[in-house]
Symmetry: C2
Subunit: 196 residues, 2 copies
């Protein structure tokens, strides 16, 4: 078990829990702008190409954006309810909104946008999340052309992990994975078995 990387363990967990819609939901903790912890459920949108980086989509008007721009440190807690496995994935989050100066990152944002269903893209056109509802008026019907690129509120988050704590409550095993970066900027992972 100790020789299998955490990404492989995570892909196996995703496979063995794939019958559960919520298996791609996890909790993302960040540091609130007032210094207190913030925690919410978000959806796994896959890995970035062939890396270990985790993709998340969010509304650029949500509170987590201001938090992550101020402090990019985050920890994912991902519990698989059928296989009883927990992944705690620590890393830094790159916030990619429409104002990002890097064309490669903007292309990645566009790719994420078109990977979403049309109905889920429409969610980024609704009124600002978290803002009080002052009147009960019905929201107008929103339509969106399928060829329209990412709207302003669409934001891509890329979490680059540097530490992973894996716990398996069925086998009662726990592994910690820590990354290190070599002089040639290559990333490698060191794994250790620890008491559960």
């Amino acid at each position: 078990m100790g020789t299998v990387g955490w990404k492989q363990l995570l892909l196996s967990a995703l496979e063995s829990n794939a019958h559960l819609k919520h298996s791609c939901f996890f909790q993302l903790a960040s540091i609130g702008t007032n210094g207190t912890p913030s925690n919410r459920t978000v959806v796994f949108r896959g890995f970035q190409d062939n890396t270990h980086n985790i993709l998340i989509n969010t509304d650029s008007r949500s509170r987590k954006i201001a938090e992550l721009v101020r402090n990019p440190c985050a920890e994912i807690c991902w519990y698989f309810t059928d296989s009883w496995e927990q992944f705690r994935i620590t890393g830094n989050v790159d916030v990619i909104d429409r104002s990002n100066p890097d064309p490669l990152k903007l292309r990645q944002r566009e790719k994420s946008w078109f990977a979403r269903s049309l109905s889920s893209r429409i969610q980024y056109l609704v009124p600002e999340p978290g803002v009080p509802i002052l009147s009960e008026q019905a929201q107008p019907e929103i339509s969106l052309d399928p060829s329209t690129g990412p709207v302003d509120a669409f934001c891509l988050l890329i979490l680059e992990p540097n530490q992973v704590d894996y716990l398996n409550l069925k086998s009662n095993q726990r592994l910690t994975f820590k990354s290190s970066v070599s002089a040639t900027a290559e990333k490698s992972w060191i794994v250790e078995r620890v008491n559960p």
Copy 2:
């Protein structure tokens, strides 16, 4: 909906998801001792008597204890996978271990201990969590007398909420509850409907 308190919404969610073992699991975020966010799955152990305070049991040797003693701010993210409801519960955590000077709190800790099954109490006698496993030797069989009081590693956490964000993904409704304390130290909650 706006007139129902968050505790009532939470009790209803617990009831409608009661057929799922994991419905009493939630993610607790705290601030790590290095200032980065920490996030892990813990188990709901009920409310403290007739209050809104949430009970959690944990191992006093786990990393979260050092974190919460240093910074008691925490945020629970509790997602109910069947009813599609999310509760984000923000508050301060009181750490009650064996060294607590308050006899009332120690009694509460003892009550929590005896509320646990014997087999789950034994979990507090295993080797220190998170410590590397250096040899493959089998752990000795552990036994515990049912009348034995809380062992040293048994720790009670009491989270006193001051803010709750409720999101219902089926009805697409979101409510925020904020507490305020009157001059006579009475706590009241103000609810507001916000955009989901």
